[in-house]
Every structure is written in C-alpha cells, then in structure tokens.
Amino acid sequence: MRENCVIKTENLTKEYKLGVIGSGTLRHDLQSWYARKRGKDDPNLKIGSNHYSAGDRFLALDSLDIEIDRGERVGIIGANGAGKSTFLKLLSRVTSPTDGEIRFRGRIASMLEVGTGFHGELTGRENIYLNGAILGMSKAEITEKIDKIIEFSECEKFIDTPVKRYSSGMFVKLAFAVAAHLDAEILIMDEVLAVGDMQFQKKCITKMRELALNENRTVLYVSHNMNTIRELCNRCIVLDHGKKIFDGDVENAIKIYLGGELDDFAFYDYNGCHKEPCKRNDVELLRAGYYGKTDNLFYNEEFMPLELEWQNNNDIHNLCLRVEVSDYRRFPVTAFVIEDFYSGKKGEKVSMRFKLNISRIAKGGYYTRYVFYNRKSDTLPFESVEIAKGLRFRKRMSEQNENRWQKAWGSVIMDEIELDDTN
C-alpha cells in the first residue's frame, strides 16, 4: 500500500443470491442432500434448473478497485441498487466480500444507521457510553470526551432521561455527536444526516469538514442529497450496477449521476454496463460514438452521425436497429429504424456508421436507447438481441432560425399547415 493511502480495494466483489436462499428449512435441505446422494433428482429443485437458485445471482459489487488517500472527503453516489450501501457494509465489516479484498489503515467508524445499539430504557448519558463502545471507543476515551459530546448534541437538558422519550431529531443529534467524536481515522456515513434539521445538518457537515481538514481524517459519505455532497466532499465516486463509472471531481460526478442534459459525451465505452437484459444476447455493443464530433450538440438541420461497434456472439442474419428517442422526462418521442442491414458470422467485430435525420426534433435535451433486433422469418415476431442505453444529445437552434422554430411545440416539428382549397 502506498504511504498516503488509507483504503484500497482490489477486485472487490459481492454476490447475492436472489430469491429464497437455500430452502430455509432443514427438512428440505436434508431431503435434497439425501436425494442427490442416491443419485436421484432433487425433489426441491425448480423444474428446468439443475441447481438451487441457479442463475439467480446478482452482483451487488462487481470487481471494484478504489484507492482513497488520507484526508480525502469522498462522496459516493449512484441510483438505488448501485452498490453504495454494500460497499460501505463491506468496508465496515458487517459482511465480507465474495471475492477480492479490502486493505485499510487505522480504525473505521461506521454510521450506517443512526443510533445503532441505542437502548430506549437507558439514559442519554448511558447510551453515549454504550454507543461509543459499540463504535470501538474505550470507556476512558468516552469519559474524556463526554462533555464535548453532550455539548455538540444540544441535548444537555435531557441527558439523564431515557432516550425512549427523545424526539427523533434529538436521537439523531446524540448519535451523530458520538460518532463525530470518535478517534477513528476513517469515518463512514450512510445518509444519516437526512433526519436532522437543516441547522444541525450544516453543523455536522462543518464538523466533518473540520475533521478532514484539521485532523487529516478520511470521510466517506453516501447521500442522495447533492447539496450536502457538494458542501462536504472534495472527490466523488459514481457507482452504477456495482461498477465504478466515474471517480473524480464532485461537479462532474453529480452531472453524470443526475444524467441530466448537461452531460456532453460524444462517445461511450460500454464495458458491460448500461445494458438492459434481453432474451438473447447475439450482439454485444462495445462502443457508440458521434463520429467527427466532440460533443453531443446538434444544430438545426444537422444530421446525427452515429457509429456503433459491436461483436457478434452468434451468427447474425438480417440484423435490424432501432434508435429510440425520449425527452428529458423520459417520455417517448420517436424512433429511428433501419432493417435487415447486416448479416455476419459469429465472433466478428463490426463497426458501422449511420446517419440519422434529426432535423424534425425540436430544441431540447434527449435520451436515446439502442435496440438491436432480428427475426427468423417474416411471420415470426421480432426478437431483441441487444438493448443498451444510448448517447444523449442536445438539439439547439441557431439565432437566425430561433424565430422560425418558435412555431414548434413539443418535441417534434411538423410541416406547416396547408390550406385545402381543392373545392
């Protein structure tokens, strides 16, 4: 490990089995075991599968490599299910990885929940001791700091009252106060501030910044509240489906997470993510790009130059492509289609360029989705062979045309109305 590095993960992977784990009862497990032993079919298997919950695996974290240095304030963001909490759980050793490893220096204090181990019948003071000890402090350490903790918690008046009589806000304040005064080198927090009032949230964030800046502690913070991320962090990691998709400065990370119109990628490297499940996976999209462009801005009548690179996982006959466009609210706008444009052998890597006429699409930001499909014959239904999140694009109108485009309403520009004077 480098001198300054405090957390390092290598190939960190966590796999969960979906659905019911095992059969849950000893009887079924014994039954299955006995049946297998006699070489008979397992009576508890689902028909068609050859092992318990086969295939129903889910990678909550997919070979994550992260290095964090001393004194960094790292925000971790991502949609629900991106793997944020799993990552924090592994770091705080609540559960252990399926593969890979974590190395860290010093003590980790984790607050995955507010007031873990708080006991309603005990007073605030007793709970400070209990909670502090749970988080790894010794009694002497707590005694030394208890005045500071009580002061920070703003609960002086109620400190000798059982915490079951506390309001939820007071509860959080007390709990946070304990965690903030830990001597741990690494602080981990999972959205714990969401319950406190604005003023207290501010206080906590200031406190954590101070800890990082003055005492060189490292802070890891998960939140869906971008404002607190902005205020606290100086580095941000974006997770998506268990993978790290961005690691760097906070503003760019937030842009990517919000997926807003601001993103100006003209190029995507898929690398296995941003895909949607489909029945067959005959085609594997590797890259998508707007060739000859450095951003995703299109003006007026400009064509969209789209280059897609994919690999054939199977022999392909009469491949078709649909580019679906939806607006910023994810409402469908339209789709571009090209049918039977390609056939090829298994294993080939193909790169093709397409021209899409998007002149009729009105001003605004849009999402796209690439759907590859094919059909065995005219009578059979279509079958999707690859579905991937597409590049976004933004449509702008140049100044002189602005007036003319004012006539457009919605997302699609239609021809002007003609007078029907045939009679």
Binding site: V94, P97, F104, T116, L135, G136
Partner: protein, 280 residues
C-alpha cells in the same frame, strides 16, 4: 506509518483466525452490555431485581411439590428443598448461558447488520450477566445451606466448595460452546429453534437435576455420567450438601468434551459470523 496496522478484509478466513486481541480491546463494551441487560431486564416490573431471587424459589417449590411430594423421588436423605434448589440454580445457569449463546445471531441481527464489533462480545457478556444472577442465587442458596446445617439437617458442606469457580467456568463454557454451535445453525435453519427448546428440556431430565444419580441402576450409571453436565451437578451437590458422587474420571471426561465443544463452537461461529447477515 507502519504496514502492520493495515487491516485486510478478504473473502476467505482461516479456520482459527480468532482475534482474541481484538476481543480484549472491546472489553468495555462487554461490561456495558452486561450493565444494559441488568438495568433492562426487570424494568417496569414491580419487584424489579428481586425476581432474580424469586424465580429459582418458585421453580424449586414446583420441583419439590411435583418430584418430591407427589412422585416421592428419593433425594438421598438431603432436605428436598435444598436438593432441588442446588440442581435448579446450576441447571438454569447452564441453560441461560446456552440460550444467550444460541440466540446470538438471531436476536442481534439488527445491530450486527449495522456495525462491526467482535461478535463474541455478545455471548461473552451473556456469560458474565448469567454469572451475576447465578451468584445472587448462590448466596441465597448458601444461606439456606447454613441454616439447614445449623439446625442439624443432613447436609455436610466440605472443602470441595473451593472448586466452585472452576465448576462455574466449566459449566459456562459448556453451555456457551453448545449454544455457539446451535446459533451458527439457526441462522440457516430456523426450525431448529423449536427443536432446541424441546431438546434442552429433555437434556435436563437426562441430567440429575430432579433426582440423584444413586437412583439410577448401577449398570447404567456410567452412561448417565457421560452426559457432560451430569458430573458437574453431582460434584456441586457433593461439595455443598455432602451427598451424591464425586468422581474425577467423569469430571475429566466432561472437561475434555467441553473443550472440544467450545473450540468447535468458536470455529463454526467464526465462519458463520462473516456472512450471516446476508442470510438472516
């Protein structure tokens, strides 16, 4: 900074990678959990901590009525109440240690799911908590023994009473070790819980708690004494009441069995604790 204070968390864990040093660091937590439990158990009850004393008296009374008076089982000439109380407090110490350890994962799932500390803290604080309640009950028991002895009843405490601490550690380790094995199994098989409470009752009747070993036919007695709890109960009775048997060989066998169970329990526990939160 030295590389030595780097902690490594990886997918595999050695069979014996029991971190006792870490457990020692958390000794304050063990004490705090004991305090919490002592404070909490009899909260909002009228008699409060008095229940610790009342409980064994009540069940000893029930034992005396059912096994002593109605079934009229011999107690080797020992006053019935003392005889049943000795078996009762020792057995409940054992079964409490067992229960605390066996419910470690299920009853602490919430807190284990949110924060890491050595999981052995829980059964360990259970042992201390149960020892405290046992000692309170034991004081009552000793007073009763003194009173009976003074009034000339057939009780003869002897020097073996000095072995009490060893007996207590022995029985606590046995109960906890068995409990740890069960706790590791119950995370996966919940239906074991039902079986366990039934099994524990059965175990009590296989142990000379409500009858003396002398009631067992001579030829079966050795089987009886292979039950690791039995020699402990017998020795305890021999020390404080002067009846029953005291045989080193069975006590030694029991100690070996206890050691094996405890080590096995800790190994299984150690393997289960790292991932149990995903299955519980």
């Amino acid at each position: 900074m030295q590389n030595s204070d780097v902690t490594v968390v990886s997918a595999k864990r050695g069979l014996f990678s029991l971190n006792l040093k870490e457990l020692w660091k958390y000794r304050d937590l063990v004490i705090l959990f004991v305090k919490r439990d002592l404070k909490n158990v009899y909260k909002q009850t009228v008699l409060g901590p008095l229940w610790i004393v009342i409980n064994p008296f009540l069940s000893t009374f029930v034992f005396t009525v059912i096994f002593g008076i109605i079934a009229n089982i011999s107690t080797d000439g020992i006053p019935q109440f003392l005889f049943y109380m000795s078996g009762n407090i020792l057995w409940s110490y054992f079964s409490n240690c067992f229960n605390r350890a066996s419910s470690t994962f299920l009853s602490n799932a919430r807190i284990f799911g949110k924060v890491y500390f050595p999981r052995l803290v829980m059964p360990l604080s259970g042992i201390i908590y149960n020892s405290i309640t046992f000692l309170v009950q034991f004081v009552m028991f000793s007073i009763l023994v003194a009173v009976y002895a003074f009034t000339g009843a057939n009780v003869h405490p002897n020097l073996l009473v000095l072995a009490l601490p060893v007996l207590l550690i022995h029985i606590a380790f046995l109960g906890t070790g068995t409990g740890l094995i069960i706790s590791s199994l119950t995370t996966k098989y919940r239906d074991l819980n039902v079986l366990v409470s039934f099994g524990l009752t059965l175990w009590m009747y296989l142990t000379p708690v409500v009858y003396p070993v002398s009631q067992i036919p001579e030829s079966f007695r050795w089987i009886m004494l292979l039950n690791p709890v039995a020699p402990i109960v017998e020795t305890f009775r021999f020390a404080f009441l002067g009846s029953g048997s005291f045989e080193w060989i069975y006590l030694l066998i029991s100690a070996v069995v206890t050691a094996v169970i405890l080590i096995l329990g800790m190994i299984v526990f150690n393997q289960v604790e790292k991932n149990f939160i995903d299955t519980v």
